[in-house]
């Protein structure tokens, strides 16, 4: 659907700071869209009555969280060098959005969302928690073979799932403001680990605002060569069309 209209696809790495942690995923796309328009960059739009900007996010950031290395693909109707895109867009972004890197990627490749495999998070616990105790709870949790949990969806029935296989790494280290829990959680279609759930399983009341998504981990290139493996483009974009689903897809 995009072939002739979007000859240029740029992958943008950006930081989503705490100033913007209260806006939703759909709001964020509009913020980017208007910034791109102010920068007079040739943004591509979907065809049809309801033209939407062709901006694809790797993974929606839950409201209340900050992200240090977020990813989005921008489709343009003309080729714009990555450096020029960055220098023109950066001054049009509101405080709280910082461009870190831009690179051109093959426009035929799989959608960005379909490449996501995992995400790394960092959560700062209140200072009165002792490091040793947190460590002990982590050890106990990781020894479990299964971690049955129930997720309450916004709509529909609560679903039961196993959190354990979604936890790839889980560690703790001392920090200036309190123990810092670091985790890498799987983020696959239908199998997304959520950091609040891990904290809750550890017995700590989840305080989302103290959690930062440090990085989104994509599949290595070999795993999803452009134009061959991986999900087709449209599948990856489906969630964006389906409203506010931030962090809601059940495993």
């Amino acid at each position: 659907m995009n072939e002739p209209s979007a000859p240029c696809r740029l992958r943008v790495v950006y930081a989503h700071g705490p100033q913007l942690q209260y806006i939703s995923h759909l709001d964020l796309i509009r913020v980017f869209e208007r910034a791109v328009r102010r920068a007079r960059l040739p943004l591509a739009y979907t065809q049809g009555f309801n033209a939407r900007p062709r901006i694809s996010m790797a993974s929606p950031l839950p409201v209340g969280m900050a992200g240090e290395r977020e990813l989005a693909d921008f489709y343009l109707t003309e080729r714009v060098p990555a450096g020029e895109f960055l220098s023109r867009l950066a001054p049009q972004l509101p405080p709280g959005l910082t461009l870190l890197a831009v690179e051109e990627v093959p426009r035929q490749g799989p959608s960005l969302a379909s490449l996501v495999r995992a995400a790394r998070y960092r959560a700062v616990l209140p200072a009165h928690y002792s490091l040793a105790e947190v460590q002990q709870r982590i050890d106990e949790l990781l020894q479990q073979a299964v971690l049955p949990r129930t997720r309450r969806a916004k709509k529909g029935r609560p679903t039961d799932y196993d959190l354990r296989p979604l936890i790839q790494t889980l560690t703790v280290e001392p920090g200036a403001d309190g123990p810092v829990v670091r985790m890498t959680l799987a983020a696959l279609p239908g199998a997304t680990g959520r950091p609040e759930e891990v904290l809750d399983a550890l017995g700590y009341p989840p305080a989302r605002a103290s959690i930062v998504r440090e990085e989104i981990i994509l599949a290595p290139h070999a795993e999803a060569p452009a134009g061959e493996a991986g999900l087709p483009e449209d599948v990856g974009e489906v969630p964006e069309e389906s409203g506010d689903f931030a962090g809601e897809d059940a495993p």
Binding site: Y22, R34, R37, F49, G64
Partner: protein, 633 residues
């Protein structure tokens, strides 16, 4: 108050918004500011701190053009810091009260009580309790009489300032009319007062009262006869003029080109260019049609230039061409043609609210909407020709049918029709006539779009408003209204027609607050104490609180909403001079009762009084004529 105390106030800490408070909110970004084009000024460097306040939620207030205009004007003054503040929705208010957080300015996050001036926009009667609630959340005494030099000055403008008496107890000074110039003058007066070594609040109010267009209610006393009938307002201070004349800017000032762009979606999420202020149609129910006279068109050149700057500075994907009747602009086709050419290189949609009921308007709609022709809205307002003549809505049934034909023929599928119920002299036959109009429009639609054609009918209760020819008319009786709504439901029960009407429960209150005198202050105060707020939001409206508040004060809403009035009667807004004479309004009312219409005054002047009152060289002030000279002394 001493300057030491002042300095202490100016260094008050910012309000801290924790995740615990914000995360559970429906839309936390309503409360965090920092949007594109928001003006972040240095608190300490500013001499005057002004909080522009809108007594409804962010989503509504951010859509208001007047609010954005004043925000930009105030912030363009170097020593003025102007923040925005909106009414927190009930969930946020509850959290703020629980955590002891005061209401704050969105940009500076300083408590509202630390500002020098709080300026409310009063767009609508049913927002009045929100003003009290916001003052209370700010920790500012609600009653003007209880505020002193250590409190912010509380001023108000907007259409509510044209009938200020119900809010007279709470507002220190009202600014009546176009706000662009008078706001700057108020700030100048305030600045000079602030620089005095010894400051008394009374002096400030006196100096404000000397400004043209400013009404200081404390300098007037209402009089009533022994039956409680209102007899008028007595100036009790030498600086208080008998009548306060509204302000008019003769030439439309340049509009804001850097409006704040919200993060969240709001009611009207688009760039706005005011292409014309005022309206010459002369609909007799319409307050805006009187209080925004004279018509002032903006030139094509200026509209195109403003549009370019607006779009460049906001990135908006939609541009609204605002006016009370867009198709009336003498250059409207040229405006649309030029804007389309100007923005041909990017996807930008134009929108044209307030279309007339005629095929020319459909042509305009077709020009701006080449694809996606979903719905068009027309407002015939009344079903029968007789009643349309009464209200001076100069639309014939043929105009509507031709417009519908043009619309369905060019691919539009849905037509929405606005009507009012409870208009003066309305009978059951007039309501039945709505059914005939609607069915005919649907039949036309079926011819072009088959079963896909739809007609939506939206009916609102007519509420008589001050400064209109119908200001003397009582609100329709409850049983008549019920009967007419039942008839309306009956005659629109047709497949393909969807009827919606506003529950009349708030109309009585709206009419009472619109037509009431100063005694309503105590009622509003009491109703707010009993939990009334967001009265315009049906699910929040608390009729029991209002009933009790009226009863405790020995009053009934009917005393104001349904009191029959004569020409000789003193009206609670007589001291506000909107520029149109009372004699003209009365003559219009009499013509209405005789079923006589009055033509659009673009062709011929009907002597409403505006031209003489403001010494206008020309009226309407058309875009392509040279701007009128200044007023003669």
């Amino acid at each position: 108050m001493g300057s030491a105390e002042r300095r202490e106030r100016a260094e008050a800490p910012q309000v801290q918004l924790s995740a615990e408070i914000l995360l559970p909110q429906a839309k936390p970004a309503r409360y965090t500011g920092g949007e594109w084009n928001a003006r972040q000024k240095d608190w300490r460097a500013a001499e005057i701190h002004l909080a522009l306040a809108y007594p409804d939620i962010y989503d509504v207030g951010m859509s208001n053009l007047g609010f954005q205009i004043l925000y930009e004007i105030a912030n363009d003054i170097p020593d003025v810091l102007c923040d925005r503040v909106y009414a927190p929705w009930v969930d946020m208010e509850e959290a703020m009260r629980r955590h002891g957080l005061p209401l704050y300015g969105l940009e500076s996050r300083r408590p509202l009580a630390e500002f020098d001036i709080i300026g409310f926009q009063l767009p609508y009667e049913l927002n009045m309790t929100n003003v009290l609630n916001m003052l209370d959340l700010a920790g500012v005494p609600i009653l003007s009489a209880q505020r002193d030099e250590g409190h912010p000055l509380v001023i108000a403008g907007g259409s509510g300032a044209y009938h200020p008496e119900p809010m007279a107890d709470f507002i220190d000074a009202f600014a009546v009319g176009d706000g662009e110039e008078v706001l700057v003058e108020i700030l100048d007066v305030y600045r000079a007062w602030r620089r005095r070594p010894h400051r008394f609040r009374l002096q400030l109010l006196e100096e404000l009262a000397r400004l043209e267009g400013v009404y200081v209610p404390a300098f007037y006393r209402p009089r009533y006869d022994d039956k409680g009938r209102y007899l008028g307002l007595q100036p009790v201070h030498p600086d208080a003029p008998e009548r306060v004349c509204r302000r008019v800017v003769e030439r439309l000032p340049l509009a804001p080109v850097r409006p704040v762009v919200p993060y969240i979606s709001i009611v009207h999420d688009r760039a706005m260019v005011e292409i014309q202020r005022g309206c010459t149609q002369g609909c007799r129910f319409c307050q805006a049609g009187i209080i925004y006279r004279p018509v002032r068109e903006r030139s094509v050149e200026e509209i195109c230039r403003l549009a370019q700057q607006l779009i460049d500075h906001t990135g908006y994907e939609e541009l609204g061409l605002l006016s009370l009747s867009s198709a009336d602009h003498s250059q409207i086709v040229e405006i649309i043609r030029r804007l389309k050419a100007q923005f041909a290189d990017r996807p930008l949609s134009l929108s044209l609210p307030s279309l007339r009921v005629d095929s020319f308007s459909v042509e305009l709609a077709n020009m701006i909407q080449e694809r996606r022709r979903s719905g068009l809205t027309f407002a015939p307002e009344a079903g029968s020709q007789r009643l349309r003549d009464v209200i001076n809505k100069k639309v014939r049934a043929e105009d509507l049918f031709q417009a519908a034909e043009a619309a369905f023929q060019s691919g539009w599928l849905r037509i929405k029709l606005y009507f009012m119920i409870g208009l003066p002299t309305e009978t059951v036959e007039d309501v039945r006539a709505i059914g005939e109009l609607v069915r005919e429009v649907l039949d036309i639609g079926r011819r072009y779009a088959g079963r896909r054609a739809q007609v939506a009918v939206s009916a609102a209760t007519f509420v008589p408003k001050p400064h209109t020819p119908f200001q003397w008319v009582p609100l329709v009786a409850e049983d008549t209204l019920a009967e007419h709504i039942a008839v309306l439901q009956d005659v629109t029960r047709v497949k393909g027609v969807h009827l919606s009407w506003h529950a009349p429960i708030t109309s009585l209150l709206e009419a009472a607050l619109a037509r009431g005198d100063r005694r309503l202050g105590q009622v509003i105060h009491r109703a707010w104490q009993l939990g009334a707020k967001f009265d315009a939001w049906e699910e929040q409206f608390r009729p029991a609180a209002w009933e009790q508040a009226f009863a405790e004060n020995g009053l009934h809403p009917d005393d104001f909403a349904r009191r029959p009035l004569e020409y000789a009667d003193a009206l609670p807004w007589d001291h506000i001079d909107a520029g149109v004479t009372k004699a003209f309004l009365w003559a219009e009312y009499q013509r209405a009762l005789r079923g006589e219409t009055l033509s659009d005054c673009r062709g011929v002047c009907h002597g409403c009084g505006i031209r003489g009152r403001f010494h206008l060289m020309a009226c309407p002030l058309l875009a392509e004529e040279p701007a009128a000279e200044g007023k003669p002394a």
